[in-house]
Symmetry: C2
DNA sequence: CCCCTTATAGTCGAATGGATTATAAACGGG
DNA sequence: CCCGTTTATAATCCATTCGACTATAAGGGG
């Protein structure tokens, strides 16, 4: 008796074609001078990607190889995002494609040679996500009225109400608080409402007159939104920001980086207190003079904390620790 | 010019075989009378699984079909866990297998027909994870000495120290606090140290005399550990427990379910306060008499909270909300 | 009726977290 | 050289949260 799952032997689909093509796709992020950027190829409308092939030792190493080949950029920290399969392939082939997406954090610095790649700001693709200078006018002027119109366009009152509620939660209408982590829900809502060009393109329906943000190929923008949402969530409970920082930095530079990711401003004293009480950084003893005012102390990441995983914040009232 | 990623056209691997087999695999969880269970097939050594085939509309629907076919159990809530590919297939075929794993939460109640499946307790597979009745003796009696021996078995002092530190963090040695979310790290540590049978089996090395927990096929136990860790983490910030509860329940039943998942006890008054102030439940007006003591109020889940996603707990000191 | 069991409410103090104010140290212009 | 500007850094205040504990209520069984 072999030790493989029974399903692979007697399942009802065992006789049919089961082969699929597996594609690796990367959301490579860096932050430069307070501007979050993503690594693109083509006309800035495509994420680095390539098929998973026999010569790759693992999914991760396959991804690294493709990104390095297409952009000249070696990757450090990477983490799996999501695996998609329900993509509509326009060509008639009876061949499924599975996309395994990854989030990579890096620094721009590496020279990229002559590759046809470019760093583009996140907020080119999601202009409604940057709230650092206040709520973007785009939301009140364009998105809100069109989302409400989309809700009103349906017959049933219950569905219309549900649409309004979803829009209100995602985009902070009706005095709700803005939640930066809902980036993916916002993109999907705009897609449903036909407010991003991908939706009308996929549907082959009437082209929308005004659509928001720069378009990408296939579902790449959705994958980018997935990475954005994951990163905004993760910076809150894991010290991943430091993957985006130079070896030595000031606390304000660190704050600006987090603000760039979160798309909103942070209270300065409280941010410093948070960083210090978690003992995430240590002083180098040096100071930086090019701040314009009083010199700022330079810090470096305490790599030791990466292993002190034990400090995962509980949320349950556990008994007698 | 077509709109597909360039990589699929001119990559260096384009000429080689790129087809892979995609396998769907499910960790189906339920909790019955305070005992967490996982749905298995075979001799309790195999998770429900099957290949992703053309007739499946999506990964999720493919998974649902396989689980229902193999176990007769319809699935409700499911979420993607992780996609693996670096498995060693013993057979010599030059064919990669990608495993896409899912976590499903359900209730045992559904009649499962005559399928060859069984509910097994989590803690059969991970006996070191149940701390409800105190720290299992297994840890101090077996795992700790063998982990320390494994650390001592290496030449370099730095590596030995690193091994000791990893073991101490994962298993709460040296007065560290126990962290129930590290279930996956613990399994992987035991695998590295050769303390689970899968490790010695995969290595085809000397069989270990004493190994811990019930073995599973291939890497199924690792996938189960992944699901366990994910669920233990998720119950802290999303109301997923209710997927495991009957429509109506007492607060103590709810607490026992969370305790079963977390593998540790919870402070009763504080748990009640937490549930109530989050407004997760509402009274039905009924009471339950079969508690043994004073009748307990019956509650039901407020499904409205599922949409109030806005309450994602922040951890950054954001400015002026 | 007493006692045991479980349910439910309330209290107390430490710690956390958001907002604000105060002080220190550089620079540049008059 | 003083003075205003800019930025860094420290300290304070207060509301809320959270863990641990105590007290009271309401059923069943001997």
């Amino acid at each position: 008796m072999d030790d493989r799952p029974k399903a692979t032997r007697n399942g009802r689909a065992a006789a049919k074609a089961k082969e699929v093509e597996a594609e690796l796709i990367a959301v490579v992020v860096s932050v430069n001078d307070g501007e979050p950027a993503v690594l693109t190829i083509g006309q800035g409308d495509c994420l680095p990607s390539g098929p998973f092939a026999l010569e790759h030792r693992s999914l991760q190493s396959g991804l690294r190889a493709w990104v390095e080949q297409q952009t000249g950029h070696p990757l450090g920290y990477i983490e799996q995002l999501y695996t998609f399969a329900d993509r509509d392939r326009a060509d008639g082939r009876q061949q499924r494609v599975i996309s395994i997406s990854y989030l990579a954090l890096t620094r721009k610095e590496h020279a990229t040679g002559a590759s046809a790649c470019a760093w583009r700001s996140w907020y080119d693709y999601f202009p409604w996500e940057d709230h650092r200078l206040g709520t973007p006018k785009l939301i009140a002027d364009v998105l809100k009225p069109r989302l409400l119109a989309w809700a009103a366009a349906v017959e049933e009152a219950a569905i219309a109400r549900e649409r309004r509620r979803r829009a209100a939660i995602a985009f902070a209408f009706e005095d709700r608080p803005w939640n930066e982590e809902l980036a993916l829900q916002r993109y999907e809502l705009l897609y449903e409402a036909g407010l991003v060009a991908e939706a009308t393109r996929d549907e082959r329906s009437i082209a929308s007159d005004s659509t928001a943000g720069t378009t990408m190929v296939a579902d790449h923008r959705r994958i980018l939104a997935t990475g954005l949402a994951r990163l905004r969530s993760k910076i809150k409970y894991r010290p991943v920001v430091f993957e985006l920082m130079p070896p030595v930095f000031t606390l304000l530079q660190l704050q600006r980086t987090v603000e760039a990711l979160a798309g909103r401003l942070i209270n300065k004293p409280n941010f410093r207190r948070l960083i210090e009480q978690q003992e995430l950084v240590e002083e180098t003893g040096e100071t930086s003079l090019d701040t314009g005012g009083r010199p700022a102390k330079l810090y470096q990441f305490r790599h030791a904390v990466l292993d002190e995983t034990a400090v995962a914040g509980t949320k349950l009232p556990l008994a007698r620790g």
